[in-house]
Protein backbone atom coordinates (compact mmCIF):
# COMPACT_ATOMS: atom_id res chain seq x y z
CA UNK A 1 0.00 0.00 0.00
CA UNK A 2 2.72 2.46 0.99
CA UNK A 3 4.58 2.02 -2.25
CA UNK A 4 1.37 2.52 -4.25
CA UNK A 5 0.51 5.70 -2.42
CA UNK A 6 4.12 6.84 -2.71
CA UNK A 7 3.94 6.21 -6.43
CA UNK A 8 0.70 8.16 -6.64
CA UNK A 9 2.23 11.07 -4.79
CA UNK A 10 5.28 10.98 -7.01
CA UNK A 11 2.88 11.08 -9.94
CA UNK A 12 1.22 14.06 -8.34
CA UNK A 13 4.52 15.81 -8.05
CA UNK A 14 5.53 14.89 -11.57
CA UNK A 15 2.17 15.91 -12.95
CA UNK A 16 2.30 19.14 -11.04
CA UNK A 17 5.60 19.91 -12.62
CA UNK A 18 4.34 18.95 -16.03
CA UNK A 19 7.25 19.18 -18.41
CA UNK A 20 5.84 22.32 -19.96
CA UNK A 21 7.30 21.51 -23.29
CA UNK A 22 9.94 18.93 -23.84
CA UNK A 23 13.47 19.74 -24.84
CA UNK A 24 13.62 20.85 -28.44
CA UNK A 25 15.96 19.06 -30.74
CA UNK A 26 16.63 22.16 -32.80
CA UNK A 27 18.86 24.91 -31.48
CA UNK A 28 17.39 27.42 -33.95
CA UNK A 29 13.82 26.68 -32.92
CA UNK A 30 14.82 26.62 -29.25
CA UNK A 31 16.37 30.08 -29.55
CA UNK A 32 13.17 31.37 -31.15
CA UNK A 33 10.92 30.43 -28.26
CA UNK A 34 10.15 26.97 -29.57
CA UNK A 35 7.92 28.46 -32.22
CA UNK A 36 6.94 26.42 -35.25
CA UNK A 37 9.33 27.73 -37.84
CA UNK A 38 8.16 29.18 -41.05
CA UNK A 39 8.53 27.44 -44.33
CA UNK A 40 8.94 23.86 -43.33
CA UNK A 41 11.48 24.30 -40.58
CA UNK A 42 11.87 21.80 -37.76
CA UNK A 43 8.60 20.84 -36.17
CA UNK A 44 6.48 22.27 -38.93
CA UNK A 45 5.19 19.25 -40.76
CA UNK A 46 4.63 17.24 -37.58
CA UNK A 47 2.26 19.96 -36.36
CA UNK A 48 0.78 20.83 -39.74
CA UNK A 49 0.92 18.28 -42.52
CA UNK A 50 0.42 20.99 -45.14
CA UNK A 51 4.00 22.13 -44.52
CA UNK A 52 5.19 19.07 -46.43
CA UNK A 53 4.02 20.88 -49.53
CA UNK A 54 5.11 24.42 -48.69
CA UNK A 55 8.29 25.62 -50.41
CA UNK A 56 11.12 26.13 -47.92
CA UNK A 57 11.80 29.61 -46.62
CA UNK A 58 15.11 31.39 -47.10
CA UNK A 59 17.74 30.50 -44.52
CA UNK A 60 15.94 27.29 -43.61
CA UNK A 61 17.50 23.92 -43.57
CA UNK A 62 17.74 20.65 -41.78
CA UNK A 63 20.01 19.90 -38.91
CA UNK A 64 21.04 17.84 -35.97
CA UNK A 65 21.44 18.76 -32.36
CA UNK A 66 24.53 18.07 -30.31
CA UNK A 67 24.06 16.17 -27.04
CA UNK A 68 26.21 18.52 -25.00
CA UNK A 69 24.25 17.74 -21.84
CA UNK A 70 25.61 14.21 -21.70
CA UNK A 71 29.06 15.36 -20.60
CA UNK A 72 28.26 16.44 -17.02
CA UNK A 73 25.99 13.44 -16.51
CA UNK A 74 28.73 11.06 -17.57
CA UNK A 75 31.32 12.83 -15.43
CA UNK A 76 29.06 12.91 -12.37
CA UNK A 77 26.35 10.30 -12.83
CA UNK A 78 23.34 10.34 -10.50
CA UNK A 79 23.04 7.78 -7.72
CA UNK A 80 20.37 5.19 -8.49
CA UNK A 81 20.85 3.13 -5.32
CA UNK A 82 18.32 4.31 -2.70
CA UNK A 83 20.55 2.87 0.02
CA UNK A 84 23.28 5.37 -0.75
CA UNK A 85 23.18 8.76 0.98
CA UNK A 86 23.71 10.50 -2.36
CA UNK A 87 20.42 9.08 -3.68
CA UNK A 88 18.20 12.03 -4.53
CA UNK A 89 14.76 11.46 -5.96
CA UNK A 90 14.48 15.10 -7.06
CA UNK A 91 17.66 14.84 -9.05
CA UNK A 92 16.42 11.69 -10.78
CA UNK A 93 13.02 13.21 -11.51
CA UNK A 94 14.63 16.29 -12.97
CA UNK A 95 16.87 14.12 -15.09
CA UNK A 96 13.75 12.38 -16.38
CA UNK A 97 12.29 15.78 -17.30
CA UNK A 98 15.54 16.93 -18.83
CA UNK A 99 17.23 14.08 -20.66
CA UNK A 100 20.93 14.90 -20.91
CA UNK A 101 20.72 16.43 -24.36
CA UNK A 102 20.86 20.13 -23.67
CA UNK A 103 23.35 21.37 -21.09
CA UNK A 104 21.62 22.52 -17.90
CA UNK A 105 23.38 25.74 -16.90
CA UNK A 106 21.14 26.69 -14.00
CA UNK A 107 19.30 23.95 -12.16
CA UNK A 108 17.01 24.82 -9.27
CA UNK A 109 18.15 23.47 -5.94
CA UNK A 110 15.91 20.73 -4.61
CA UNK A 111 13.98 21.56 -1.43
CA UNK A 112 16.37 21.07 1.48
CA UNK A 113 14.33 21.92 4.55
CA UNK A 114 13.26 19.59 7.33
CA UNK A 115 9.73 18.26 7.46
CA UNK A 116 7.80 18.84 10.66
CA UNK A 117 4.91 16.72 11.86
CA UNK A 118 3.10 17.55 15.08
CA UNK A 119 1.08 14.74 16.60
CA UNK A 120 -1.31 14.78 19.53
CA UNK A 121 -4.25 12.59 20.46
CA UNK A 122 -6.58 14.89 18.55
CA UNK A 123 -4.08 16.88 16.58
CA UNK A 124 -2.08 16.24 13.44
CA UNK A 125 -0.37 18.91 11.37
CA UNK A 126 2.28 18.66 8.70
CA UNK A 127 4.69 21.38 7.67
CA UNK A 128 6.51 20.34 4.53
CA UNK A 129 8.23 23.69 4.09
CA UNK A 130 9.59 24.14 0.60
CA UNK A 131 8.89 20.49 -0.14
CA UNK A 132 5.19 21.27 -0.51
CA UNK A 133 6.00 23.24 -3.64
CA UNK A 134 6.41 19.94 -5.47
CA UNK A 135 2.74 19.14 -4.95
CA UNK A 136 0.34 20.95 -7.26
CA UNK A 137 -2.05 23.31 -5.54
CA UNK A 138 -4.90 22.57 -7.90
CA UNK A 139 -6.46 19.77 -9.81
CA UNK A 140 -3.70 18.80 -12.19
CA UNK A 141 -4.01 17.57 -15.73
CA UNK A 142 -0.99 16.98 -17.87
CA UNK A 143 -0.26 15.15 -21.04
CA UNK A 144 1.49 15.17 -24.33
CA UNK A 145 1.41 13.58 -27.75
CA UNK A 146 4.77 12.95 -29.29
CA UNK A 147 4.79 12.27 -32.99
CA UNK A 148 8.28 11.10 -33.74
CA UNK A 149 10.36 11.87 -36.79
CA UNK A 150 8.67 10.56 -39.91
CA UNK A 151 11.34 9.52 -42.41
CA UNK A 152 9.80 8.56 -45.69
CA UNK A 153 9.68 9.01 -49.39
CA UNK A 154 7.59 11.24 -51.60
CA UNK A 155 6.21 10.60 -55.08
CA UNK A 156 4.97 13.80 -56.61
CA UNK A 157 2.73 15.26 -53.90
CA UNK A 158 2.13 11.95 -52.19
CA UNK A 159 4.29 10.59 -49.42
CA UNK A 160 4.78 7.51 -47.31
CA UNK A 161 6.52 7.75 -43.98
CA UNK A 162 7.19 5.60 -40.96
CA UNK A 163 6.56 7.23 -37.59
CA UNK A 164 6.16 6.39 -33.92
CA UNK A 165 3.49 7.90 -31.71
CA UNK A 166 3.64 8.24 -27.94
CA UNK A 167 0.75 9.64 -25.96
CA UNK A 168 0.43 10.06 -22.22
CA UNK A 169 -2.04 11.86 -20.05
CA UNK A 170 -2.49 12.17 -16.33
CA UNK A 171 -5.41 13.65 -14.44
CA UNK A 172 -4.86 13.88 -10.72
CA UNK A 173 -6.88 15.49 -7.99
CA UNK A 174 -6.75 15.76 -4.22
CA UNK A 175 -9.84 16.47 -2.22
CA UNK A 176 -9.85 19.99 -0.85
CA UNK A 177 -9.31 18.62 2.63
CA UNK A 178 -6.24 16.60 1.65
CA UNK A 179 -4.89 19.44 -0.43
CA UNK A 180 -5.15 21.75 2.56
CA UNK A 181 -3.54 19.22 4.88
CA UNK A 182 -0.56 18.74 2.58
CA UNK A 183 -0.16 22.50 2.47
CA UNK A 184 -0.13 22.91 6.23
CA UNK A 185 -3.69 22.75 7.55
CA UNK A 186 -4.42 20.39 10.41
CA UNK A 187 -6.07 17.06 9.80
CA UNK A 188 -9.45 17.21 11.46
CA UNK A 189 -11.80 14.59 12.93
CA UNK A 190 -14.76 13.23 10.98
CA UNK A 191 -13.29 14.33 7.68
CA UNK A 192 -12.84 12.45 4.43
CA UNK A 193 -9.52 12.75 2.62
CA UNK A 194 -9.09 11.41 -0.87
CA UNK A 195 -6.83 11.38 -3.88
CA UNK A 196 -7.82 10.27 -7.37
CA UNK A 197 -5.65 9.71 -10.41
CA UNK A 198 -6.29 8.64 -13.97
CA UNK A 199 -3.34 7.87 -16.21
CA UNK A 200 -3.32 6.88 -19.88
CA UNK A 201 -0.35 6.02 -21.99
CA UNK A 202 0.18 4.33 -25.31
CA UNK A 203 3.08 3.76 -27.66
CA UNK A 204 2.55 2.83 -31.27
CA UNK A 205 4.32 2.80 -34.61
CA UNK A 206 2.99 2.84 -38.10
CA UNK A 207 2.86 4.24 -41.55
CA UNK A 208 1.71 7.66 -42.65
CA UNK A 209 0.14 7.90 -46.09
CA UNK A 210 -0.58 11.38 -47.28
CA UNK A 211 -0.70 14.17 -49.75
CA UNK A 212 0.47 17.75 -49.40
CA UNK A 213 0.63 20.42 -52.04
CA UNK A 214 -0.72 23.68 -53.39
CA UNK A 215 -4.44 24.15 -53.82
CA UNK A 216 -4.01 27.58 -55.35
CA UNK A 217 -0.75 29.21 -56.39
CA UNK A 218 0.07 32.44 -58.14
CA UNK A 219 3.74 32.89 -58.89
CA UNK A 220 6.39 31.99 -56.38
CA UNK A 221 4.95 32.52 -52.89
CA UNK A 222 8.45 33.14 -51.55
CA UNK A 223 9.09 35.89 -54.08
CA UNK A 224 6.00 38.05 -54.46
CA UNK A 225 3.44 35.39 -55.28
CA UNK A 226 0.85 33.69 -53.11
CA UNK A 227 -0.06 30.12 -52.44
CA UNK A 228 -2.63 28.18 -50.50
CA UNK A 229 -1.37 24.78 -49.48
CA UNK A 230 -3.13 21.85 -47.91
CA UNK A 231 -2.17 18.46 -46.66
CA UNK A 232 -3.73 15.34 -45.24
CA UNK A 233 -2.32 12.13 -43.95
CA UNK A 234 -3.80 8.90 -42.77
CA UNK A 235 -2.02 7.14 -39.93
CA UNK A 236 -2.15 3.39 -40.00
CA UNK A 237 -0.54 2.10 -36.85
CA UNK A 238 -0.14 -0.81 -34.55
CA UNK A 239 -0.17 -0.43 -30.83
CA UNK A 240 3.00 -1.50 -29.06
CA UNK A 241 2.23 -0.74 -25.43
CA UNK A 242 -0.82 0.28 -23.45
CA UNK A 243 -1.08 1.34 -19.84
CA UNK A 244 -4.20 2.78 -18.30
CA UNK A 245 -4.82 3.14 -14.60
CA UNK A 246 -7.46 4.64 -12.41
CA UNK A 247 -6.42 4.87 -8.77
CA UNK A 248 -8.16 6.18 -5.72
CA UNK A 249 -7.09 6.42 -2.10
CA UNK A 250 -9.45 7.64 0.59
CA UNK A 251 -9.83 7.57 4.33
CA UNK A 252 -12.14 9.17 6.83
CA UNK A 253 -10.94 10.25 10.23
CA UNK A 254 -12.91 9.32 13.34
CA UNK A 255 -14.16 11.50 16.19
CA UNK A 256 -10.64 11.48 17.56
CA UNK A 257 -7.69 11.39 15.18
CA UNK A 258 -5.67 8.83 17.11
CA UNK A 259 -8.62 6.96 18.53
CA UNK A 260 -8.88 3.33 19.45
CA UNK A 261 -9.98 2.11 16.04
CA UNK A 262 -7.86 2.28 12.92
CA UNK A 263 -8.90 4.55 10.11
CA UNK A 264 -10.00 2.44 7.19
CA UNK A 265 -7.93 3.43 4.17
CA UNK A 266 -9.73 2.50 0.99
CA UNK A 267 -7.61 1.92 -2.05
CA UNK A 268 -9.13 1.08 -5.40
CA UNK A 269 -7.46 0.59 -8.73
CA UNK A 270 -8.59 -0.40 -12.21
CA UNK A 271 -6.00 -1.13 -14.86
CA UNK A 272 -5.67 -2.06 -18.52
CA UNK A 273 -2.32 -3.00 -19.91
CA UNK A 274 -0.98 -4.61 -23.04
CA UNK A 275 2.33 -5.19 -24.77
CA UNK A 276 3.07 -5.65 -28.45
CA UNK A 277 1.14 -8.94 -28.45
CA UNK A 278 -1.99 -7.12 -27.34
CA UNK A 279 -1.61 -4.30 -29.84
CA UNK A 280 -4.12 -4.18 -32.65
CA UNK A 281 -5.00 -1.75 -35.40
CA UNK A 282 -4.79 1.99 -34.85
CA UNK A 283 -5.89 4.68 -37.24
CA UNK A 284 -5.93 8.41 -37.30
CA UNK A 285 -6.13 11.41 -39.57
CA UNK A 286 -4.30 14.73 -39.77
CA UNK A 287 -5.19 17.72 -41.93
CA UNK A 288 -3.66 21.13 -42.36
CA UNK A 289 -3.53 24.21 -44.48
CA UNK A 290 -1.01 27.02 -44.96
CA UNK A 291 -1.30 30.30 -46.82
CA UNK A 292 1.90 31.98 -47.97
CA UNK A 293 2.16 35.37 -49.61
CA UNK A 294 3.63 38.82 -49.34
CA UNK A 295 6.15 37.73 -46.77
CA UNK A 296 3.42 36.35 -44.56
CA UNK A 297 2.53 32.82 -43.67
CA UNK A 298 -0.53 31.54 -41.80
CA UNK A 299 -1.20 27.91 -40.98
CA UNK A 300 -3.65 25.72 -39.13
CA UNK A 301 -2.99 22.08 -38.47
CA UNK A 302 -5.32 19.58 -36.88
CA UNK A 303 -3.79 16.31 -35.79
CA UNK A 304 -5.30 13.09 -34.58
CA UNK A 305 -8.83 13.54 -35.81
CA UNK A 306 -10.51 10.33 -34.71
CA UNK A 307 -7.27 8.63 -33.83
CA UNK A 308 -8.23 5.39 -32.16
CA UNK A 309 -6.50 2.19 -31.15
CA UNK A 310 -7.82 -1.29 -30.54
CA UNK A 311 -6.22 -3.63 -28.04
CA UNK A 312 -6.50 -7.02 -26.48
CA UNK A 313 -5.68 -5.93 -22.98
CA UNK A 314 -5.28 -7.44 -19.56
CA UNK A 315 -7.78 -5.96 -17.13
CA UNK A 316 -7.01 -5.87 -13.41
CA UNK A 317 -8.57 -4.44 -10.32
CA UNK A 318 -6.96 -3.69 -6.99
CA UNK A 319 -8.40 -2.87 -3.62
CA UNK A 320 -7.31 -2.77 -0.02
CA UNK A 321 -8.03 -5.80 2.09
CA UNK A 322 -10.19 -4.62 4.94
CA UNK A 323 -8.61 -7.16 7.28
CA UNK A 324 -4.90 -6.82 6.58
CA UNK A 325 -4.84 -3.37 5.02
CA UNK A 326 -2.67 -4.74 2.23
CA UNK A 327 -3.46 -4.16 -1.42
CA UNK A 328 -4.80 -7.10 -3.35
CA UNK A 329 -4.57 -7.04 -7.14
CA UNK A 330 -6.52 -9.42 -9.29
CA UNK A 331 -6.59 -10.01 -13.03
CA UNK A 332 -10.23 -10.17 -14.06
CA UNK A 333 -9.82 -10.59 -17.81
CA UNK A 334 -7.14 -11.39 -20.35
CA UNK A 335 -7.42 -10.45 -24.00
CA UNK A 336 -10.25 -8.08 -23.20
CA UNK A 337 -11.27 -6.13 -26.32
CA UNK A 338 -10.51 -2.53 -25.50
CA UNK A 339 -10.31 0.70 -27.46
CA UNK A 340 -8.97 4.10 -26.61
CA UNK A 341 -8.48 7.33 -28.45
CA UNK A 342 -5.86 10.05 -28.74
CA UNK A 343 -6.99 13.64 -28.21
CA UNK A 344 -7.05 16.03 -31.13
CA UNK A 345 -4.33 18.68 -31.23
CA UNK A 346 -4.83 21.99 -33.01
CA UNK A 347 -1.95 24.25 -33.98
CA UNK A 348 -2.26 27.73 -35.39
CA UNK A 349 0.82 29.61 -36.52
CA UNK A 350 1.75 32.83 -38.25
CA UNK A 351 5.06 34.09 -39.55
CA UNK A 352 6.02 37.33 -41.22
CA UNK A 353 9.11 38.90 -42.73
CA UNK A 354 9.26 42.42 -41.36
CA UNK A 355 12.25 44.10 -42.95
CA UNK A 356 15.30 42.22 -41.76
CA UNK A 357 13.31 40.27 -39.18
CA UNK A 358 11.49 36.99 -39.36
CA UNK A 359 8.80 36.97 -36.67
CA UNK A 360 6.82 33.83 -35.93
CA UNK A 361 4.18 32.84 -33.41
CA UNK A 362 2.02 29.85 -32.71
CA UNK A 363 -0.68 28.64 -30.38
CA UNK A 364 -1.04 24.94 -29.66
CA UNK A 365 -4.14 23.43 -28.11
CA UNK A 366 -2.73 20.19 -26.78
CA UNK A 367 -3.66 17.67 -24.15
CA UNK A 368 -5.30 19.64 -21.34
CA UNK A 369 -3.20 22.73 -22.04
CA UNK A 370 -2.86 25.58 -24.48
CA UNK A 371 0.65 26.84 -25.04
CA UNK A 372 1.97 29.70 -27.09
CA UNK A 373 5.33 30.55 -28.63
CA UNK A 374 6.77 33.72 -30.11
CA UNK A 375 10.14 34.08 -31.80
CA UNK A 376 12.14 36.36 -34.03
CA UNK A 377 15.32 36.07 -36.08
CA UNK A 378 17.55 38.47 -37.94
CA UNK A 379 20.90 38.08 -39.64
CA UNK A 380 24.05 40.18 -39.51
CA UNK A 381 25.99 38.72 -42.37
CA UNK A 382 26.68 35.10 -41.45
CA UNK A 383 25.61 35.59 -37.85
CA UNK A 384 21.97 35.16 -36.84
CA UNK A 385 20.47 36.76 -33.77
CA UNK A 386 17.43 35.04 -32.34
CA UNK A 387 15.09 35.61 -29.45
CA UNK A 388 11.75 34.47 -28.20
CA UNK A 389 9.47 33.57 -25.38
CA UNK A 390 6.78 31.04 -24.73
CA UNK A 391 3.98 30.31 -22.34
CA UNK A 392 4.43 26.82 -20.99
CA UNK A 393 1.81 24.39 -19.74
CA UNK A 394 2.35 25.64 -16.19
CA UNK A 395 1.28 29.12 -17.39
CA UNK A 396 4.81 30.42 -16.89
CA UNK A 397 6.49 32.67 -19.44
CA UNK A 398 9.90 31.37 -20.49
CA UNK A 399 12.57 33.30 -22.36
CA UNK A 400 14.94 32.20 -25.08
CA UNK A 401 17.74 33.57 -27.22
CA UNK A 402 20.60 32.42 -29.34
CA UNK A 403 23.00 32.93 -32.16
CA UNK A 404 25.39 31.01 -34.35
CA UNK A 405 27.38 31.25 -37.51
CA UNK A 406 26.81 30.16 -41.06
CA UNK A 407 29.65 29.19 -43.33
CA UNK A 408 28.35 28.31 -46.76
CA UNK A 409 25.69 25.68 -46.40
CA UNK A 410 26.87 24.71 -42.97
CA UNK A 411 25.89 26.38 -39.70
CA UNK A 412 26.53 26.09 -36.01
CA UNK A 413 23.73 27.27 -33.72
CA UNK A 414 23.62 27.91 -29.99
CA UNK A 415 20.52 28.60 -27.94
CA UNK A 416 19.81 29.61 -24.36
CA UNK A 417 16.38 29.02 -22.91
CA UNK A 418 14.76 29.16 -19.52
CA UNK A 419 12.45 26.37 -18.47
CA UNK A 420 10.58 25.07 -15.47
CA UNK A 421 10.94 21.41 -16.22
CA UNK A 422 11.60 20.35 -12.65
CA UNK A 423 9.63 19.14 -9.64
CA UNK A 424 9.39 22.50 -7.95
CA UNK A 425 8.57 24.38 -11.17
CA UNK A 426 11.36 26.86 -10.52
CA UNK A 427 13.13 28.48 -13.41
CA UNK A 428 16.25 26.91 -14.85
CA UNK A 429 18.46 27.73 -17.81
CA UNK A 430 19.76 25.41 -20.49
CA UNK A 431 22.09 25.62 -23.45
CA UNK A 432 21.41 23.84 -26.69
CA UNK A 433 23.69 23.40 -29.66
CA UNK A 434 23.16 22.13 -33.14
CA UNK A 435 24.46 21.89 -36.66
CA UNK A 436 22.38 23.16 -39.57
CA UNK A 437 22.68 22.14 -43.20
CA UNK A 438 21.19 25.00 -45.23
CA UNK A 439 19.40 24.42 -48.47
Amino acid sequence: MLRRVLLLLLLAALAGAEPAGAQLLSARRMAMGGVILAGGGPGSDAANVAYRGVPPAPNSGSGITLPIGIIPVLSDPPEFDPDKPEFNIYELANLAYNPPWNLQLVTPDPPANDISIAVGKDHLAVDLGDVKSIFPENHTRAGSILNGPAPGIGIRRFFVAVAPLVYYENDLSFSDELQAAIHGAEFTPNTSYSMHDEAHGIAAAGVHLGWAGPLVRHGDPRHGGTGLYAGARVKLMRGLALGEAENGVAFTTADTLFASEPVDVRYTGHYFDAGPDGGRFGRGFDVGTVWVGGGFEVGVGVNDLGTRFDWRARESVASSDTTTGETVQQVIARDRAYSNSVPTTITGNVAARLGRFLVAADVVRGVWATTGHLGAETWFGPVPLRGGLYLDANRLVQYTGGSGIRIGSFGLDLALATNSRNLSRERGLELGAGLTFYR
Partner: protein
Amino acid sequence: MRIRAWILVAVAALALAGCGDHRLVLTVDVLSYLDDSQRNVAVGALPEGAQPGPVPIIDDQTINLISGMGDVAEVQSVTLRLEGQITAASGSGSGRLRLYLSDEQTPPLAAVPVLDVPVQFAAGAPDTVSAEAACAPDVAALFLKQKMRMAMVVDSGMVAPPGATGVAMSLQKLEAIVVAGRKKSL
Protein backbone atom coordinates in the same frame (compact mmCIF):
# COMPACT_ATOMS: atom_id res chain seq x y z
CA MET B 1 -5.76 1.84 17.93
CA ARG B 2 -3.95 3.40 15.08
CA ILE B 3 -4.35 5.76 12.21
CA ARG B 4 -3.07 4.30 8.99
CA ALA B 5 -2.14 7.63 7.53
CA TRP B 6 -0.47 6.18 4.46
CA ILE B 7 -0.76 9.38 2.53
CA LEU B 8 1.00 11.24 5.30
CA VAL B 9 3.65 8.55 5.52
CA ALA B 10 4.10 8.58 1.77
CA VAL B 11 4.42 12.36 1.72
CA ALA B 12 7.11 12.08 4.36
CA ALA B 13 8.80 9.31 2.40
CA LEU B 14 8.79 11.34 -0.77
CA ALA B 15 10.16 14.36 1.00
CA LEU B 16 12.83 12.38 2.83
CA ALA B 17 13.90 10.77 -0.42
CA GLY B 18 15.44 14.05 -1.42
CA CYS B 19 18.97 15.02 -0.62
CA GLY B 20 20.55 13.10 2.23
CA ASP B 21 20.31 15.71 4.98
CA HIS B 22 16.54 16.10 4.96
CA ARG B 23 15.19 15.40 8.42
CA LEU B 24 11.78 14.55 9.74
CA VAL B 25 11.02 16.38 12.97
CA LEU B 26 8.11 14.69 14.69
CA THR B 27 6.73 16.44 17.75
CA VAL B 28 4.58 14.13 19.84
CA ASP B 29 2.39 15.91 22.35
CA VAL B 30 2.26 13.07 24.85
CA LEU B 31 0.31 15.20 27.30
CA SER B 32 -2.62 15.36 24.89
CA TYR B 33 -3.13 11.62 25.31
CA LEU B 34 -3.84 12.09 29.01
CA ASP B 35 -7.20 13.10 30.33
CA ASP B 36 -7.60 15.67 33.08
CA SER B 37 -7.48 13.12 35.88
CA GLN B 38 -4.13 11.89 34.55
CA ARG B 39 -2.70 15.37 34.13
CA ASN B 40 -3.75 16.39 37.64
CA VAL B 41 -3.25 13.47 39.97
CA ALA B 42 -4.39 13.72 43.56
CA VAL B 43 -2.07 11.39 45.46
CA GLY B 44 -3.65 12.29 48.78
CA ALA B 45 -2.14 11.53 52.19
CA LEU B 46 1.23 9.86 52.57
CA PRO B 47 2.45 8.40 55.86
CA GLU B 48 5.80 9.46 57.28
CA GLY B 49 8.94 7.53 56.44
CA ALA B 50 10.03 5.58 53.42
CA GLN B 51 7.20 4.76 51.11
CA PRO B 52 6.67 1.06 50.55
CA GLY B 53 6.50 1.25 46.80
CA PRO B 54 6.07 3.52 43.82
CA VAL B 55 3.14 5.88 43.86
CA PRO B 56 1.43 5.71 40.45
CA ILE B 57 0.92 9.00 38.68
CA ILE B 58 0.00 7.59 35.27
CA ASP B 59 -0.97 3.99 34.97
CA ASP B 60 -0.33 2.05 31.84
CA GLN B 61 -1.35 4.48 29.06
CA THR B 62 -1.33 3.67 25.36
CA ILE B 63 -0.01 6.33 22.99
CA ASN B 64 -1.23 5.90 19.40
CA LEU B 65 1.13 7.20 16.78
CA ILE B 66 1.38 7.25 13.00
CA SER B 67 1.33 3.80 11.53
CA GLY B 68 3.99 3.10 8.94
CA MET B 69 6.34 5.93 9.79
CA GLY B 70 8.97 3.40 10.81
CA ASP B 71 8.86 2.03 7.28
CA VAL B 72 10.18 5.24 5.80
CA ALA B 73 12.23 6.91 8.52
CA GLU B 74 14.99 5.99 10.92
CA VAL B 75 15.19 7.72 14.28
CA GLN B 76 18.30 9.76 14.86
CA SER B 77 17.41 11.18 18.25
CA VAL B 78 14.53 11.68 20.64
CA THR B 79 14.40 14.37 23.30
CA LEU B 80 11.80 14.16 26.04
CA ARG B 81 10.62 17.28 27.83
CA LEU B 82 8.58 17.26 30.98
CA GLU B 83 7.23 20.12 33.06
CA GLY B 84 5.02 19.76 36.07
CA GLN B 85 4.38 20.76 39.63
CA ILE B 86 4.05 18.83 42.87
CA THR B 87 2.24 20.32 45.82
CA ALA B 88 1.17 19.32 49.30
CA ALA B 89 -1.47 20.69 51.68
CA SER B 90 0.68 19.79 54.67
CA GLY B 91 3.99 18.12 55.37
CA SER B 92 6.96 17.62 53.13
CA GLY B 93 8.89 14.91 51.42
CA SER B 94 10.92 13.87 48.43
CA GLY B 95 11.16 11.15 45.85
CA ARG B 96 12.04 10.44 42.27
CA LEU B 97 9.68 11.00 39.36
CA ARG B 98 10.16 8.26 36.83
CA LEU B 99 8.74 8.00 33.31
CA TYR B 100 8.62 4.65 31.55
CA LEU B 101 8.05 3.94 27.87
CA SER B 102 7.68 0.54 26.28
CA ASP B 103 6.49 -1.11 23.14
CA GLU B 104 2.98 -2.40 22.63
CA GLN B 105 3.70 -5.84 24.08
CA THR B 106 5.71 -4.83 27.16
CA PRO B 107 4.25 -3.46 30.40
CA PRO B 108 5.90 -0.08 30.75
CA LEU B 109 6.93 -0.57 34.37
CA ALA B 110 8.99 -3.54 33.25
CA ALA B 111 11.19 -1.21 31.22
CA VAL B 112 14.04 1.01 32.30
CA PRO B 113 12.84 4.53 33.15
CA VAL B 114 13.55 7.05 30.41
CA LEU B 115 13.25 9.98 32.80
CA ASP B 116 14.33 9.81 36.43
CA VAL B 117 14.31 13.19 38.19
CA PRO B 118 14.31 14.11 41.89
CA VAL B 119 11.23 15.85 43.24
CA GLN B 120 10.46 17.51 46.54
CA PHE B 121 7.25 18.73 48.01
CA ALA B 122 6.45 20.93 50.93
CA ALA B 123 3.29 22.62 52.08
CA GLY B 124 3.10 26.15 50.72
CA ALA B 125 6.12 25.71 48.43
CA PRO B 126 5.12 24.03 45.18
CA ASP B 127 8.02 22.31 43.52
CA THR B 128 8.36 22.83 39.82
CA VAL B 129 9.60 19.81 37.98
CA SER B 130 11.41 20.45 34.71
CA ALA B 131 13.40 17.82 32.93
CA GLU B 132 14.80 17.13 29.51
CA ALA B 133 16.54 13.96 28.46
CA ALA B 134 17.69 12.17 25.37
CA CYS B 135 16.39 8.68 24.84
CA ALA B 136 18.45 5.60 24.17
CA PRO B 137 18.14 4.31 20.59
CA ASP B 138 15.81 1.43 21.50
CA VAL B 139 13.45 3.81 23.28
CA ALA B 140 13.73 6.37 20.51
CA ALA B 141 12.60 3.81 17.96
CA LEU B 142 9.29 3.46 19.84
CA PHE B 143 8.18 6.83 18.52
CA LEU B 144 8.05 5.57 14.95
CA LYS B 145 5.87 2.63 15.85
CA GLN B 146 2.11 2.77 15.60
CA LYS B 147 1.68 2.63 19.35
CA MET B 148 3.63 2.55 22.59
CA ARG B 149 2.86 2.41 26.28
CA MET B 150 3.71 4.84 29.03
CA ALA B 151 3.64 4.97 32.82
CA MET B 152 4.80 7.49 35.40
CA VAL B 153 5.43 6.99 39.10
CA VAL B 154 6.96 8.72 42.08
CA ASP B 155 9.37 6.22 43.55
CA SER B 156 11.78 6.06 46.50
CA GLY B 157 9.50 8.38 48.38
CA MET B 158 10.57 9.67 51.80
CA VAL B 159 8.05 11.70 53.82
CA ALA B 160 9.04 13.73 56.83
CA PRO B 161 7.09 13.31 60.08
CA PRO B 162 4.25 13.53 60.74
CA GLY B 163 3.40 12.67 57.12
CA ALA B 164 1.87 14.69 54.31
CA THR B 165 -1.63 15.38 53.16
CA GLY B 166 -3.09 16.69 49.93
CA VAL B 167 -0.14 15.67 47.82
CA ALA B 168 -0.88 16.34 44.18
CA MET B 169 1.01 16.23 40.94
CA SER B 170 0.09 18.22 37.85
CA LEU B 171 1.69 17.94 34.43
CA GLN B 172 1.98 21.00 32.19
CA LYS B 173 4.10 19.61 29.40
CA LEU B 174 5.12 16.18 28.28
CA GLU B 175 6.38 16.01 24.75
CA ALA B 176 8.89 14.19 22.61
CA ILE B 177 10.89 15.73 19.80
CA VAL B 178 11.81 12.98 17.37
CA VAL B 179 14.41 13.66 14.71
CA ALA B 180 14.52 11.06 11.97
CA GLY B 181 16.18 10.61 8.63
CA ARG B 182 15.39 8.62 5.53
CA LYS B 183 15.34 4.90 5.96
CA LYS B 184 17.95 3.63 3.58
CA SER B 185 16.05 0.53 2.56
CA LEU B 186 12.95 2.46 1.54
